[in-house]
Symmetry: D2
Subunit: 289 residues, 4 copies
Amino acid sequence: MMRVQICCSSEISFLMEAHDGLSAAIAGRAGFKGLWASGLSIASCLGYRDANEASWSQLVGVVERIVDTSQLPVLVDGDGGFGNFNNARMLARKLRQCGAAGVTLEDSCFPKTNSLIGDRHPLADIDEFSGRLRAVKDAVADDLVLVARIESFIAGHAVEEAISRAHAYADAGSDAILIHSRRSAADEILAFTRAWQNKLPVVIVPTKYYRTPVSVYRRAGISTVIWANHSMRAAMAAMRQICNRIVAEENTASIEPNIATLDDVFELLGYDELARAEANYLHPQHHEQ
Amino acid sequence: MMRVQICCSSEISFLMEAHDGLSAAIAGRAGFKGLWASGLSIASCLGYRDANEASWSQLVGVVERIVDTSQLPVLVDGDGGFGNFNNARMLARKLRQCGAAGVTLEDSCFPKTNSLIGDRHPLADIDEFSGRLRAVKDAVADDLVLVARIESFIAGHAVEEAISRAHAYADAGSDAILIHSRRSAADEILAFTRAWQNKLPVVIVPTKYYRTPVSVYRRAGISTVIWANHSMRAAMAAMRQICNRIVAEENTASIEPNIATLDDVFELLGYDELARAEANYLHPQHHEQ
Amino acid sequence: MMRVQICCSSEISFLMEAHDGLSAAIAGRAGFKGLWASGLSIASCLGYRDANEASWSQLVGVVERIVDTSQLPVLVDGDGGFGNFNNARMLARKLRQCGAAGVTLEDSCFPKTNSLIGDRHPLADIDEFSGRLRAVKDAVADDLVLVARIESFIAGHAVEEAISRAHAYADAGSDAILIHSRRSAADEILAFTRAWQNKLPVVIVPTKYYRTPVSVYRRAGISTVIWANHSMRAAMAAMRQICNRIVAEENTASIEPNIATLDDVFELLGYDELARAEANYLHPQHHEQ
Amino acid sequence: MMRVQICCSSEISFLMEAHDGLSAAIAGRAGFKGLWASGLSIASCLGYRDANEASWSQLVGVVERIVDTSQLPVLVDGDGGFGNFNNARMLARKLRQCGAAGVTLEDSCFPKTNSLIGDRHPLADIDEFSGRLRAVKDAVADDLVLVARIESFIAGHAVEEAISRAHAYADAGSDAILIHSRRSAADEILAFTRAWQNKLPVVIVPTKYYRTPVSVYRRAGISTVIWANHSMRAAMAAMRQICNRIVAEENTASIEPNIATLDDVFELLGYDELARAEANYLHPQHHEQ
């Protein structure tokens, strides 16, 4: 199977977060050409915290549903690889097996803490993390795009540290660099892209610096923008509102206009294909007689 | 562990649909006292169709996340039990093991078709289905509430058939009867409750006859009302809208007010507990020094 | 990935049963060129009975370990496909995804009964089962070898019924025919091969008629012989004996010569590769300094 | 459910290794009163190396099969808890949920290396590991026996280090101490028991020092002896031998006397119960008519 490349085109591209089969199907229908299997969103939907509470095999199980349902290229948030180089390469092999298009590995320690909370975020040693990247690249070669995610801005370091890590991770075989920042403006990101000069494609996650227009990223030559958790957050707000209303109203009549119809569900998930297949494969018992 | 009884109180109660840990936590926060692990919603979120595409063990895996995250009593949509009496009792044992409070079994054949689509819905033979119920009751006794779900209105039969089945299923050991209808008014339901006279508690799913006010159900002596798929449908509508807007705007700034914040996510899922636990259990390395 | 074809060579070939990663590695080391992921053995090792107690997704999980550990072509015992045509094609897609080489589907009903016990084995309707085969073939095309397993001898029918089914299953897209018998001699099998004239390759499972020498199968032009459960049965006998001795002796000294050494385990499962990989990828922290 | 206590009786007791449902059933039939869900054996059967390649959720899945099949108290080899205190307490909760009787946690780092190979075995910091133990005890209280496993002899330290750790782990809430050694004689173990004076019950794993008779352990007041991997090693030797013979003989006739019969399999796994249940629950369709 030819794998569609992600994170590596010259034209800017966008990945939409997905956390299960339904969110993946919805994103595909909206026109997104690729998906981001978000660690935070997947953990949240499972009821776990984004601190490696979900096991790597549970993550793979969810990714499988995303890939199978959407048929889109999926970039998977692999956290730090769930341990050392050996855990990381096993994860990568399983992601390849279930049809993912790529994986990001971040230079954090196990278990991780979500990048957007807390202040203690010990970074992995550059050499140790480069070993993780090399192990993954040797294990899956070009069957899986490998994106090295740099957490050094999150940990409070300056751009030089990020650049230094980016060079090391490129040498270790990464196909692209995800540079992460939790500032409300994109200044760290732009400092990085100026210094980096696109030696490898750059991927960003503007969850916190969302006010920056995409034109800025285009000018900066950024390859891929990830909308990292917005479907989960939209779902959460909507479910909260609907639950509160049903509790208050003891009835669903007034919310019907605000929620998807069952026909929407049936249409999105291909119940018509099932009906056609029944006509074809259960034939002639149910249809000719 | 004492299990909270569901579907069996004299006062009317409401179960809110959940399909994963997040939706379960949200429903609990809104004040619901019990949850409905919906087969349709769970299948949809997994990207499956509601035709027993998901395996019974995948269902159990999702129920486990719902139970663990919410700590609420959960009634599980067990479809027809995923096969014969033996499959049904194995499912029931696993649901008990993962902490569910009850299970519904419907008198359909395997694989099932969702009750709200199509017109061919062969019913299970009464004796065969009663055997499934007896097998489950013998396997889990009073550790799991057993609700027999009658699909005879869906299959086009009159109220007499439903009553006849209800008696048989009561004799087979059911703790409650779920009477299902897909009419847009509650007439079938009320015909049933009039004839049934609450010989066992009655559970209903007003997905289609949602305009009927709850006062009608109270007067009819109905035990439990299930809002069966509204969180999933709310999530679907919201995710669709947000995806479309992000595609159009290439930016998330304008949608930020409409989606949950990450702090909402962190608060709902107990990140504060994790922070306190780190202070307690990782001490003294990270905190005293 | 080019898939190695199984069950379809002109030269007779042998598949050894495997039920987990360890048994798969052992069979590979012994020189077998292909494996049989036995439903009976897998169920038994899981502690289930061979009556579709294990879910299809649990089966896929075991097959994944077999494929990953052995790297050999694996023919999977898919029972009847775990439901109707739709369940069967989903199973086939997942088996393809996890790297299996082929699947057998038998013309039984769900849930199944093991072929070697009991006397009531209702056969599937020919047309309905042909629909299952067509659905699988349309879903996985030539990525997965499809073997139709005929249970009509088991159900007490004559050779004509088997031949009639074989023709129908060939028309439905099968790549090979598995003809099953539980007689203590191979007479049914040979009656079939004489009448069938190798219109498709023939696969056999001589669990009961094990006294027949392989030369007979070669002369009959049989393509593939499956040793269907012998590793599991060998393991069972050995574990039973060792357990009894440890109970009696309260010591393991006398059994040490009869069991594999830990070095055998480490060698078979490639602990040396892990050590080399540590030297390579954890370098330079642990090795240079 | 009342949980049977393990590792805590005054009389010496023995736990037999199990790695799947079948090995668990066999050990129960042989008369063992408790089982050891061995990390090494489970990993090996899955085709993984004993280096935390299997995820914690895969481990739980296997333990569930062991518990369900044997109905015996099962002590689970929890390695170091698969991460920090938070991963450890989650593991413990899931083990409680699936019916395990106890868990051992070892003072190693993640990912672990099997105790019996290699020479670099960094120990966990005493305070950090005590935090893991406290977290587990707070999470599962007395529902799960907590055994602290001390690896300091493996790491080359003297008895004083082991005693010091044992005191700390007792203070942290452990119910018993597993003291591990890979010497070929039990001298380290006996040095420990002399100094420890049974302040908590002592558990041992005489894989390497198997020549020591059990009378020595009785005199030393040891609580529990674990035969830690002998079923897996017996199975491996038997499967290897049978595979080699089948390859050589192209026939299974000569090995039939050496392997379990299918009737043995059916008897052990309760096929008679299934037949009786069919007569009861599928009645009257299949039996009265």
